[in-house]
Every structure is written in structure tokens, then in C-alpha cells.
Symmetry: C2
Subunit: 255 residues, 2 copies
């Protein structure tokens, strides 16, 4: 049987602790090819470089692990891997481990999930993994001990086309970890809180800060509640933007 081929990317860049941990988690399952951005790509969502060429370089090459650094977005990494780097379609795509939460509405801004979602368009079983702290030295020991069971299930069952998994881990020790919980994406929005800065010419500019507002705090089956209960949330993510209910409504408008 041909050896399994696993593609890894992320949005924190190829030098992050999260991607190093994910590589270690993945290596027992096959040959790992990492194609990851040179620098931080947080908030890059599903963006793709169209107006400039994308460049990548191989920076590590051994029998079971290759690493490429790419000057572009997480989605650029997946497209370049599938089109120019990998010898064939990979059997699994892993993205992360992101330093920071990608629960709730944060999912749509996430470069980590952008990469996982992109891979799912090509029928590749894909998982985005995050931990809900921005700490660059985050403790990934719970992820390292528990994510293999999830990866094995995904390899065993496969995934439908266009569906990926958005997995978020709480910050806790293994003793306090309550396992995985299958969830919906929490209904929420982002409360903006802009931090003003002034450059040396007196121009104002703004860092975009803020926090998530959970508009269904009593829903126990959504990812924010899972995290609060020290579960790792698993949200199956499907990209179909059509609001089928609204189609019927619009047809009554007599446009």
C-alpha cells in the first residue's frame, strides 16, 4: 500500500510552535509535507494572492518530512501545494495548530480555517486545529495527547466533499480536559474596539481590536459552550452560502 501523504499548513507562519507540534502529531501517520506562510497571516480568511506572483522555497527535505516556506496566504499555500508541490492529492490536510480561538464568527476571518476549507473543496479530508490562547508559547500537551484519536477517526471514516472540521481546544491540563464535543458554530458577532495610534506625521490610524459577542449564551451545543466546559469543540464546516429559506421569501418580492 502506498504511503499516506499529509499536507500541513497554518496561518501563524512556518516558525510557530503550533505548526511544530502539529508536524509531530502527524508524522506517525505518513509522509508530511509542510507548505506554510513565511510570516503571520492571522485574519487572512480565504484570501488568495491574485495581483502578484506567489513564491515558495523548499527549506527542509528528508525521507518523511519536507518543508516549504511560501510568501503568501494560507489559501495560497494549499493551492500551490496541490498544483505545484505535491506529487499527488494528499490523503489528509491539517491546518494549525492556531495560536488563538477560531470558534464562532472568528471562523470566517481565520486563515487557519481558510486553508482547511480550501483543501476540502478538492475532496481532501481536512482539519483545522486551534487553541484558545494567543500565547506564542502555548501549552499544546493536551492537543498532542488527544488529537491523534481524532485524526485516526477521520482517516477511518473519510469526510464528504466540501466539509472540513473546525477543532478548538480549551486551555487546560489533561486532568481537567473533558474530551471532544460535536458542536454548531456559535451565533455571534465581533464587537469592535479600535485602538488609535498616531504616526510621526500626525496621521491617525487604528488597530482593530475588540471581542466576540455570543448571542446564544444558553445554547449548550455550540462551540463557545464546549470550550467553557473544557471540551475541545468539533464543528463540521460546510461551505454553501445559499440561504434556501430566503429563496422562497425573495420569490414573493416579484422582482
Amino acid at each position: 500500500m502506498e504511503e499516506r501523504l499529509i499536507l500541513i499548513s497554518n496561518d501563524d507562519g512556518i516558525s510557530s510552535k503550533g505548526i511544530d507540534t502539529l508536524i509531530r502529531i502527524a508524522q506517525p501517520y505518513g509522509k508530511v509535507v509542510v507548505v506554510a506562510p513565511a510570516n503571520a497571516q492571522s485574519g487572512k480568511s480565504h484570501s488568495v494572492s491574485l495581483t502578484r506572483p506567489v513564491r515558495f522555497e523548499k527549506i527542509y527535505d528528508s525521507e518523511n518530512l519536507e518543508k516549504y516556506v511560501l510568501y503568501g496566504t494560507p489559501v495560497d499555500c494549499v493551492k500551490s501545494a496541490l498544483t505545484k508541490i505535491l506529487p499527488r492529492k494528499p490523503d489528509l490536510m491539517l491546518s494549525g495548530i492556531n495560536h488563538g480561538s477560531n470558534t464562532a464568527i472568528s471562523l470566517i476571518y481565520s486563515g487557519t480555517m481558510g486553508a482547511a476549507i480550501e483543501a476540502s473543496f478538492y475532496g481532501i479530508p481536512s482539519i483545522g486545529l486551534s487553541i484558545v490562547t494567543h500565547d506564542l508559547d502555548a501549552d499544546f500537551s493536551v492537543v498532542e495527547k488527544t488529537a491523534p484519536a481524532l485524526i485516526e477517526k477521520v482517516l477511518e471514516h473519510g469526510m464528504p466533499e466540501m466539509v472540513s472540521l473546525n477543532v478548538n481546544y480549551p486551555v487546560c491540563q489533561l486532568n481537567d480536559f473533558n474530551g471532544f464535543k460535536i458542536c454548531s458554530q456559535t451565533k455571534s458577532y465581533w464587537y469592535e474596539d479600535f485602538e488609535e495610534t498616531v504616526d510621526k506625521y500626525g496621521n491617525q490610524a487604528y488597530y482593530q481590536r475588540g471581542h466576540l459577542v455570543n448571542i446564544e449564551p444558553d445554547n449548550k451545543d455550540c462551540d463557545e459552550s464546549a470550550i467553557a466546559g473544557n471540551y475541545a469543540s468539533i464543528v463540521p464546516v460546510k461551505v454553501d452560502f445559499t440561504d434556501y429559506k430566503m429563496i422562497d421569501e425573495l420569490k414573493k418580492w416579484n422582482l
Copy 2:
């Protein structure tokens, strides 16, 4: 009654012909405030500038029209408008008119729709408009004659939270235009075709090209079919990434 407030943005930049046309279309309906990127932001999807401050400048100010140029993404434009520029929540948000198709899977890469979708998160009725040609001098006369009827319907009926409209116009003359068609987003993927370029140091890099592959060519009710029939497609877009069917499947995995 207070005058209506209308926010306009796009992803082709504040100097494009498409946004000028959209401003003209919107002006009869209220005061228009334009907050648009300084330069082309095609393919920026839902990306937001997190690691650097966002700057904007007022470049035009009259009683019924203000224009701001912003150094950032389309979603940055909407967030900045709502948080720092507008005196109150606008009654309508219009994005475009994009030079290029945003039907089918292109929607997820679209900065035009990123801006419209972002506005819908805050309960603002929002419409993204595109024409299916990249021609910088595209003929928008059909849009200009027919989009007002759609805007009036949206102002009359309002829109549910988290729902926006993705409207794509065919390239045709008014005589050949068949009107609006309410559609689903065409199931499709992007076939990659990378164009190699070599810099003066001999480094290879790639422009991402390619074309859309329609995987449901016989579906008459999707946006690609509407465009082919010289209709303007209207897809109601809802952001809820959860695949509820897959939740039941995952629960059987005994994770």
C-alpha cells in the same frame, strides 16, 4: 423622517468605474458615504488587517456624498465605517459594482462579497453587485437601469440578520436582458492553472490563474445558469458554516 444613510464599498478600489456607477445608482435613495480601498483588493475574501493599523482619509465632502479612501481590505472598510466614520448604523450597504464574476465558488474569495457579508453581521441590509467581465471599462448601463428596482425592494422588505444578496449581472444589452432570477450558489471548484514567472535573480514564482469548474451544469436554478440565460442572478447569502447533517454522522464516530 431622518434621511437614509447608505454605505458603499468595493474591492476594486475607490477609483474604479464600478463604484462610480454604484454611487450614481444609490444617490437618489439617501446620503451616500463611500469607504473604499485605495487600491485593488480582489481575492481578499473576508480578510481583516490585524497586525498593522488601518488608516483612512476623507477625500470628498458634500451635503449628500462623502468619500473616504482606506488603506486596507474591503472588510476593514466596513468595520472602520461602522466604528469610526458613520454617525449611526446605515440603512443600506452596497458593495461593488465588481469588475468580474462572483458567482459560484468565487463568492468565497471575493472582497466585494466580504464587505457585504460583514455588513450583514450587524443587521444592515446589504447587496454585493458584480458584472461578469474584468473589463475596467465595463458597460454598466443594464445595472444602472435595473438595480434601482432591487434596491427599492430591499429597502421595502428589509433583510434578516446575517443574510446578504450576491447579485451578478451578465454582459448584455438591455434588449437582451431577461431580468432577475433568484438562485442558489452553483456547486463548483476552481481549476488551478499557475502561470510561471522568473525574477531577475532566477527565482520562480507563480501567478494564480485558472477557471471555474461547474459541477452541476444541468441545474437551471443556480447562478451560473442564470448568467448563461442573460439573467442577473440573486443568491441570498447566509453565513452559518455548521453542517448540521454531519453533526449526526460525527456523533456516531464515538470520539
